[in-house]
């Protein structure tokens, strides 16, 4: 117990806990939007496209996160624009930007002299090495996402549910779409440090899938996702610390464990309900 409490005396551990909590907030809200609108593939594209920025950041010696932010947001806006305004298939656009970003990243990382020790933490995530800059950006992002959803919740909900109808009644559909896809890109990139490019998508989908087992209400889904995200990432962080394994993988392991538990609980509840219906005196 003492060692557990002593952990919180360490600055980088406190930072990691803070990062986990902030990640759960931004991923909980934005992930619910992604899952509800079935934008998981788009999000995968944005995630991988941002690797191009990481590579360029390495090569030119500026913060890879800044490079990733540029690449992520630009590819997000590109996907949104190309799929709406041009005749190109949306999924093909995503695949092209997905691989173009990865290719750019690989080339620049390859050209950068010396061994990039930190590269692994971008691919697989390392919440324990999250920088002060990244932490501040995560804080700003979480606040931004909260404010946007507080102000425009109904409009976002209506546009997400039925874009066609929203257009017909002259809601600012394009503005909502561009704003939200930008927030999606920012959320993905700033959470790369937590779970890594390869795993970050699960922070935006597993908590929502768990929440969706218990609720079909957008707002409740957001709160439940944040809660499961917090439990999963905190538990994963501890696991990663004590077993000395990558944090991203540990967090996802925990989230899937919660999902399986939730399923079992639900299954038991359903079979009890059925038994009670067949035999009303079951409990006596």
């Amino acid at each position: 117990m003492e060692t557990f409490l002593e952990l919180f005396d360490l600055l980088f551990f406190r930072n990691a806990v803070l990062a986990a909590l902030l990640a759960s907030v931004s991923c909980g809200i934005i992930g619910t939007y992604i899952v509800s609108r079935r934008m998981v593939f788009i999000s995968g594209g944005i995630t991988h496209a941002s690797f191009g920025g990481i590579g360029i950041g390495y090569f030119f010696g500026f913060s890879p996160i800044v490079g990733a932010l540029f690449f992520g947001v630009l590819s997000a806006l590109g996907i949104e624009y190309m799929s709406k305004k041009t005749e190109v298939r949306e999924d093909s656009v995503i695949a092209i930007l997905w691989s173009l970003g990865m290719a750019t990243g690989i080339i620049f990382v390859f050209l950068t002299p010396g061994y990039s020790a930190n590269l692994m933490s971008y691919l697989f995530g390392n919440i324990l090495t999250v920088s002060q800059l990244n932490l501040r950006l995560l804080l700003v992002l979480s606040l931004l996402v909260i404010v946007v959803f507080l102000l425009f919740f109904k409009t976002i909900l209506f546009v997400a549910f039925d874009e066609n109808f929203a257009r017909a009644i002259r809601l600012p559909v394009d503005a909502v779409n561009y704003l939200l896809i930008t927030l999606v890109a920012l959320t993905i990139v700033l959470n790369i440090r937590v779970a890594g490019i390869i795993l970050v998508l699960s922070l935006l989908t597993i908590p929502q899938t768990i929440a969706n087992l218990f609720t079909h209400n957008f707002k409740t889904m957001i709160f439940l996702s944040i809660l499961t995200g917090m439990i999963g990432s905190f538990a994963g962080l501890l696991l990663s610390w004590f077993l000395d394994i990558p944090s991203g993988a540990a967090i996802i392991f925990f989230l899937v464990l919660i999902y399986l538990l939730a399923r079992v609980v639900l299954q038991i509840r359903i079979s009890l309900k059925i038994k009670r219906q067949i035999n009303p005196h079951y409990e006596k």
Partner: protein, 251 residues
């Protein structure tokens, strides 16, 4: 009679494909127009042009909004049900409420009065007990009722329905026509349907859309008229419609 919308020589389509050519149509305040025609003939394009979702390539659309009652929406719209994601986490109450949204009120201020209006319109459609349900839990007919609530909650002057009778049971279809007949006392209705046989009972006039538009100021169409419209459609009669017609494309 008071004019609501006038389409003058409108040509419209998508990208480089012209779907509708030189369409003329005037919708009046008490109209109940059935829009019929083959798939790909431009029925939905016509709806999208009137809704302003697509801009005409040439020609004019003139709207005559009524300045006397600004609280009424000009157009109410019921899209094809197949376009909606039934797994989306949204309640019946919120779907109906979305009919009150406008570009001026994109921030979240919906009042107690708005919520009352939602209850009122759900009751009008006989689905007030579904208010808290998720759209995924509804049957096809129930979902259409919810969408109808959303379309009429702002008391539009013109109600546009795109295939309201697909994926619904016969009982709902009958209810729907009775509801529409009642609504028609307060608003004009423009209804797109592939099921010609049934709609001809209820509409006051028919617009046959197949690249061009032929307006017929009555709800009875004969085989000869259909032939002259070059309108390849199938009529399954229920007794009152003069003929069963099956025409092939002549273009």
């Amino acid at each position: 009679m008071e004019k609501l919308v006038e389409l003058q020589q409108v040509t419209a389509g998508y990208a480089d494909e012209v779907v509708l050519r030189n369409i003329n149509l005037t919708v009046h305040a008490q109209d109940f127009i059935g829009v019929i025609g083959p798939n790909g003939g431009g029925k939905t394009t016509l709806v999208n042009v009137i809704l302003g979702i697509i801009k005409p390539m040439s020609g004019n659309i003139i709207f005559h909004p009524d300045s006397s009652d600004r609280r009424r929406r000009f157009i109410g719209y019921l899209p094809q049900v197949s376009h909606t994601d039934k797994k989306f986490p949204i309640s019946v109450r919120d779907v109906a409420l979305s009919g009150l949204a406008t570009s001026q009120r994109f921030m979240n201020h919906y009042s107690a009065g708005d919520n009352e209006r939602v209850q009122q319109v759900l009751a009008q459609m006989g689905i007030e007990q579904l208010a808290g349900k998720n759209v995924g839990e509804l049957s096809g007919g129930q979902l259409q009722r919810v969408f109808l609530c959303r379309a009429i909650i702002a008391q539009p002057r013109l109600l546009i329905l795109d295939e309201p009778n697909t994926f619904v049971d016969n009982k709902f279809e009958n209810d729907l026509y009775l509801i529409l007949r009642e609504l028609n006392k307060e608003m004009a209705i423009l209804m797109v349907s592939h099921d010609v046989g049934t709609i001809t009972y209820y509409v006051k006039s028919i617009a046959c859309v197949n690249k061009t538009l032929h307006y017929h100021d009555s709800n009875i169409i004969s085989q000869e008229q259909l032939a002259s419209y070059n309108c390849p459609i199938q009529i399954i009669t229920h007794g009152d419609v003069p003929h069963t017609v099956l025409r092939t494309h002549q273009q």
